[in-house]
């Protein structure tokens, strides 16, 4: 995964990230050798189920796993600095100002005892040299931008006076206050209703398009990935099992776990079938991982090679589509259960061509 297109500097570079928790049942490695890069104006989606390590990956970027029983190794480079080693005082200057997080539960980042507008003002005053009045004006503007009605009035409300959707948007306003270079959204829309989720996703898109912010989107919802991601990392049991551009992931997926995920999501735009197609079994406990390929016990395509752990790699050195599976490339093409529409097929085809002819 070290090969990347030339000429564009990565904003964030994660190398061999490993996160181990010391628990009563022994050492649990929640993240086990994760690499990825993030560029300006890009949305990288990290997809996976509970226990896949996607949230732990996100939290470790800003060292938000405060537990004393956590050990993080590897490198996380941001502007030449390794965030894993950076002194806490320096990291504090980055948090919120340059790299900001949006969580699933807004009450984890909003102070319940402080008025919403005041929280944004404080964030601005800590990280930017601006006057109180200026900060107040900017706070109201931010709340307006995220669609809070009568923002100047509502800025005086406490978090509990906002509805769930409004709180989520207020948290986004707070996260955006200092124009961060990187926005990390950890299941930021999971608890929201679909109509509110649509509003929040539009806000995140706007951050990317208008300001060129880079976004790491942690989600389990492939529908959201299709809507907003540029790149996708699929995680399973602590490792990335497939890494691809969004279109490659949806139209030419290579890993059987990705196939299973794609098949198990319902599609409202298709005629319904009475049966859904789940993945059999369940994800392994991080305390008791299978040897070799971790998806092997649930995989319909497993064979003897899978007893050894497959490496995450592409078809050749320059390939940007990586997967960790022992199947032959031909088998991966033929077995992928893609039931795309005709024009989606054409699209994937065109894409595959562009890929073969172009880039590197």
């Amino acid at each position: 995964m070290s090969e990347q297109p030339p000429g564009r500097e990565a904003l964030l570079e994660v190398r061999d990230l490993r996160v181990t928790f010391d628990t009563r049942e022994g050492q649990v490695r929640a993240v086990d050798g994760v690499d990825f890069e993030l560029r300006k104006g890009q949305v990288l989606a990290i997809v996976g189920e509970s226990g896949s390590g996607k949230s732990v990956t996100a939290l470790s970027i800003l060292r938000l796993l405060r537990d004393r029983n956590v050990e993080t190794t590897g490198q996380i480079f941001y502007q030449g600095k390794d965030l894993v080693e950076l002194p806490e005082s320096e990291l504090r200057r980055l948090r919120g100002a340059e790299i900001a997080m949006i969580f699933q539960d807004p009450l984890t980042s909003l102070n319940p005892l402080q008025r919403i507008g005041q929280q944004i003002v404080e964030m601005l005053r800590i990280h930017r040299k601006i006057s109180r009045a200026e900060a107040r004006g900017k706070a109201v503007k931010l709340l307006e931008e995220v669609g809070i009605p009568r923002a100047s009035e509502r800025a005086r409300d406490y978090p509990h006076e906002f509805s769930g959707g409004m709180r989520q948007r207020a948290m986004i306003a707070l996260a955006m206050a200092c124009d961060p270079n990187i926005l990390i959204a950890d299941e930021a829309t999971t608890a929201l209703d679909v109509t509110i989720q649509a509003q929040v996703l539009d806000l995140i898109k706007r951050e990317k398009e208008d300001r060129g912010a880079a976004v790491i989107l942690i989600t389990h919802d492939l529908g959201i990935v299709a809507d907003i991601a540029d790149w996708v990392a699929v995680m399973y049991a602590g490792r990335i099992v497939e890494y691809a551009s969004r279109d490659e992931l949806f139209y030419a997926p290579r890993h059987p776990y990705t196939w299973g995920l794609l098949a198990s999501v319902p599609r409202v735009d298709r005629p319904r079938s009475r049966r859904m197609k789940p993945i059999d079994g369940m994800p392994p406990s991080p305390a008791d991982l299978p040897t070799g390929c971790r998806f092997r016990p649930r995989c319909a395509h497993a064979f003897d090679k899978c007893e050894a752990a497959p490496e995450l790699k592409g078809a050749d050195r320059d390939s940007l589509h990586l997967d960790a599976c022992w199947l032959e490339p031909k088998e991966k093409r033929e077995r992928a259960p893609i039931e795309a529409d005709a024009d989606a097929d054409a699209h994937a085809h065109a894409h595959a061509h562009a890929h073969a002819d172009g880039v590197s």
Binding site: E49, S50, G147, P149, S163, G164, G165, M166, D193, V194, T195, I196, Q197, A198, Q199, D202, H220, D221, L222, G223, I224, V225, A226, D227, R246, D247, F250, G260, L261, L262, S264, V265, P266, R267, V268, D269, P271, R272, S273, R274, R275, M276, K277, P278, I279, D280, M282, P283, A340, D341, D343, A344, H347
Partner: protein
């Protein structure tokens, strides 16, 4: 997204499909109001959680009640199993009014009406072993001989895809999906006719959600169950629902067969709700016209006058702000809207696509 000219638009009214059988469950003008109080206990008014809901469910039918948080769907479900005592209205089970019967008189019905809860973490007693969780239900209702309880529990566990040895474990040693299977086994223990499932899969992982949806469908077939599925996610429930009822701020806004409602929604809220469900396909997702609703759900403490959806509706006119639209029949499908979409004859449908 929809084309009124397709031949399917003239489908039979959904009542004819199951007309031979009388409804198992009939709900008429059901109202559940709660007194809202502030932190010190003084009244803040009345929460109109369920505000005049009428529908019926036929034997062996699967009805999905869909809506966003705060629409009253969970309260409605809880009224149906008598966890709440409705403020007014009628609930009939097999033609008998059970709305206000005493707990004692309702008791025999408990075995016929069961509930599966959303959160498999809080709905199972953590101190009890699975065998006792399910066995207690059998014993309390004398559903089988005392000596047969263990065997019956084993059978139930097998039926929901668990192993006999699981009976001796406590809930904490199970994953979310397995816990939901235990909850379903418990609901099935008394061979109910009607199962109300409140968001049975929303706490589960994607790959597991499909397993549970399929399981519910299998059980529906096998036991001839009548299912009421309460959900916020139309995408999931539509796989197994025969009909869907859409709720908004305490009221039903549309009821129809699943495919008709999905393909040609009548109510603008249904249209918006469908359009907001993400599609896991970049091309299809980009092509689709998404209707982003402005603002939030109004407070059920003070629902808007007229049509409750008018504050967020892009088709709203003056009449919507003043006159509440009744739930009317559009060729077998019900909808409560002054400006219905996708109906014949095409009314003054707002220009779209």
């Amino acid at each position: 997204m929809s084309d009124p000219a397709t031949p399917q638009s003239h489908e039979a009214p959904d009542s004819t499909a199951t007309a031979e059988k009388p409804p198992l469950l009939e709900v008429e003008d059901l109202v559940m109001h709660f007194a809202a109080t502030n932190a010190v206990g003084s009244s803040k008014g009345v929460v109109h959680a369920v505000d005049g809901v009428t529908f019926s469910v036929h034997e062996e039918e699967t009805l999905a009640i869909v809506g966003e948080s705060g629409c009253g769907k969970t309260t409605l479900g809880r009224c149906l199993v008598r966890l709440y005592d409705p403020s007014s209205g009628t609930i009939r089970f097999r033609g008998n009014d059970v709305t206000h019967v005493s707990e004692r008189a309702f008791r025999p019905l408990r075995s016929e009406i069961q509930m599966v809860f959303q959160d498999p973490y809080s709905s199972l007693n953590p101190r009890k072993r699975v065998g006792a969780i399910i066995g207690d239900v059998l014993r309390a209702h004398d559903a089988c001989d005392r000596g047969d309880v263990a065997a019956e529990v084993e059978k139930l566990l097998a039926r929901v895809g668990l192993r006999p040895e699981h009976a001796s474990r406590r809930p904490r040693s199970f994953s979310g999906g397995q816990r939901q299977r235990i909850g379903i086994a418990r609901a099935l223990a008394l061979r109910p006719r009607l199962v109300i499932a409140d968001e049975p899969v929303s706490a589960l992982d994607v790959s597991i959600q499909a397993q549970i949806v399929n399981l519910l469908d299998d059980l529906h077939e096998e036991y001839g169950l009548t299912l009421v599925l309460i959900a916020h996610d139309l995408g999931l429930v539509r796989h197994i629902a025969d009909r869907v009822a859409v709720m908004y701020l305490g009221k039903l806004v549309e009821v129809g067969t699943t495919d008709a409602l999905n393909e040609r929604p009548i109510h603008p809220y249904t249209e918006a709700l469908l359009s907001a469900i993400p599609i896991p396909d970049p091309v299809a997702s980009a092509k689709r016209k998404r209707i982003v609703l402005e603002g939030d759900l109004p407070s059920p403490l003070d629902p808007p006058a007229g049509c409750r959806f008018h504050t967020r509706c892009r088709y709203a006119t003056d009449v919507c702000r003043t006159v509440e639209p009744p739930l009317v029949d559009h060729g077998g499908r019900l909808a409560a809207c002054h400006h219905p979409l996708n109906v014949d004859p095409p009314s003054k449908e707002a220009t779209e696509t």
